[in-house]
Symmetry: C2
Subunit: 153 residues, 2 copies
């Protein structure tokens, strides 16, 4: 790549990933609309369907989101009665986030979403499998990087 090309948009991996992320969210939207939730809210539900109860901090560690993002998002999910928010008995600082009965029922409606998404995307499955593996490899490297930054503080 010549010196003149390094700033061309078409040469930026970051933009491909940024654009793909938004395009994929757009594919989820109509399906999530029928559930009445947004894409980030869906991610929280995925985690809680798997774990039932987690502290806000644990949830944040899994999704790489902080309280500034999660607090209002969780309050909305609580407003829909899909989750519960309550302080821990042992440690009043920690907020326990847990799935409700209604939240668990939604899992049955959501179970078809992944295959619906695949059908709608209309993309080579092998490409998706490869991409998943490579993206996770990238994420691991980036995670290490952010740990280095943390330690420098």
């Amino acid at each position: 790549m010549t010196n003149n090309d390094v700033l061309k948009l078409e040469n930026q991996l970051c933009f491909s990933i940024y654009a793909a992320s938004r395009a994929i969210t757009k594919i989820y939207r109509p399906f999530l609309d029928t559930l009445g939730i947004t894409y980030p809210q869906y991610l929280v539900m995925l985690v809680l369907w798997e774990h039932n109860t987690l502290s806000l901090k644990e949830l944040g560690n899994i999704l790489y989101l902080d309280s500034g993002t999660l607090t209002p998002l969780l309050k909305r999910l609580e407003g829909m009665q899909l989750i519960k928010r309550e302080r821990s008995r042992e440690d009043e600082r920690v907020l326990c986030v847990s799935i409700t009965e209604k939240g668990l029922e939604m899992k049955q409606q959501a179970i078809r979403i992944p295959e619906c998404i695949l059908d709608t995307m209309n993309v080579d499955i092998p490409l998706l499998v490869t991409l998943k593996k490579e993206m996770d490899e990238l994420l691991i490297s980036l995670k290490k990087e952010s740990q280095v930054e943390q330690e420098e503080k």
Copy 2:
């Protein structure tokens, strides 16, 4: 993948891409901070460094962003005197967005950013090259998909 696993977070390509996109933006932030712009603003600058003048619509087509996102963003860049916003003579509806002298000067400061990012990410270059190619392949498929949706309206 068993029926029970389809909703696990670790099996969602969408999440890997979503998380990677945010992680990468985080790497850009300190470098862009020294320029005084955000990541989406940087993308606009990349496009304008390449094209000098574009209508808002053309800019939106390139970045997959609409006027709701771009109008306020461009007003901020204009406030920093990095770009100009003016109506076209031939067609008063179209907004011509163009780079200013000051905006062009910023390109010299930005020229090192891509290699700084690479250094900071500390990731296998071959992995990045492969990922770029595959992400673009995915994007093309998703673009076709969204065209289908458009035609259905």
